[in-house]
Amino acid sequence: MIALLLRDLRLATRAGGGFGLSLAFFLIVTVLVPFGVGPEGGTLARIAPGILWVGALLASLLSLDRIFALDHEDGSLDILVTAPIPLEGAVLVKAAAHWLVTGLPLTLAAPVLAVLLHLPGPGFFWMTVSLALGTPALSVIGTFGAALTVGLKRGGLLLSLLVLPLYIPTLIFGADCARRGAEGLTAGTPLLMLAGITLGALAILPFAAAAAIRANLR
């Protein structure tokens, strides 16, 4: 299991691995929005939590189709299925690797990029916390979507269409938590809902994804 995690991280950081792609996309979105909306601080501050969350969500969507597609193309997935490690565990490790190369850097970059969007002071803490709690759900749900589309050539479009609706609850509660935090309101309830989504996804989706892979390999 550790070997799989280390291999995926190594692959991601080598040439062509896609590390930094999500981060670059996130950076571009947050830099461009002030140009599009205009420099008026009040407007930017109001939309900042939503923009940051939508940016993070789309950025983590970018690299989803790589999770299983490459392993399927070169035959690694067949071997992993016949290997002595449980496929459910392998799926969870894959999701963890995806989070480490997308969700975690996005979470760490968000407070820096939030400055560009005039995020009010109290919002920085809640922005980071909500992303830290919410991005694992994005990775796990996305891994499930990647498992569903694993045998399909160019399944990226279908993957986005499948995954985006599943991302909506995470987006609503995550962005709401950050918004309430930024406005100085209590943000506990959306934060708890967000944590619930993440834990639920972590508990159920690895099994669903493993079943989907087994069905797709037939």
């Binding site: 070169d74 035959g75 690694s76 067949d78 071997i79 992993l80 290997a83 002595p84 490690i85 037939r218």
Partner: protein, 207 residues
Amino acid sequence: MARMLELTDISVARGGVPVLQGVTCALGAGQALILTGPNGVGKTTLLRAVAGLQPVLAGQMTRPSEGVAYAAHADALKPTLSVAENLSFWAEIFGTRDIAPALSAMGLEGLRHRAAQNLSAGQKRRLGLARLLVTGRKLWLLDEPTVSLDAAAVALFGAVIRAHLTDGGAALMASHIDIGLSEASTLDLSLFRAAPGGTDAFDEAFA
């Protein structure tokens, strides 16, 4: 002699269409069986079914409880990882540690630190086959193992299989080329071709 694999009256389908039916064979420790037959007869499909990657339509199958080592057409290599990194990854996944014997058996010691993307097709194939040695499993399933290997590498691989058989292993392989395993028996799969429309193909498509 310990039975490694026993197939009784196996039927398999590819893409919902039954391709083979009534395949019966057995493989004991130290034995090799070569599946032959024209393209599309169902050699890969049968190997995938034995590997547990797809269900059988009918019949009984007894496999080793520890599982099998499966080598498909694709070599399961990551182009940006080196030879040693590729091999040690699979060694760790299969719970073995030492990759040196596998490297030397397939003549890859000199290429340890080269990235897999810079290997020739034959070298990649040899690395893919070296993976079998680090799985530590007794039953090998090989799908066209000698594709893109030169004569010397085929002989090298023949020796690896022979050593595996002497060691109490077994091998089931699909191959068109004679790899010099005189002790291996062959099974012509064209004898087991499924009769068109013979089974209920409609139900299988929705199975």
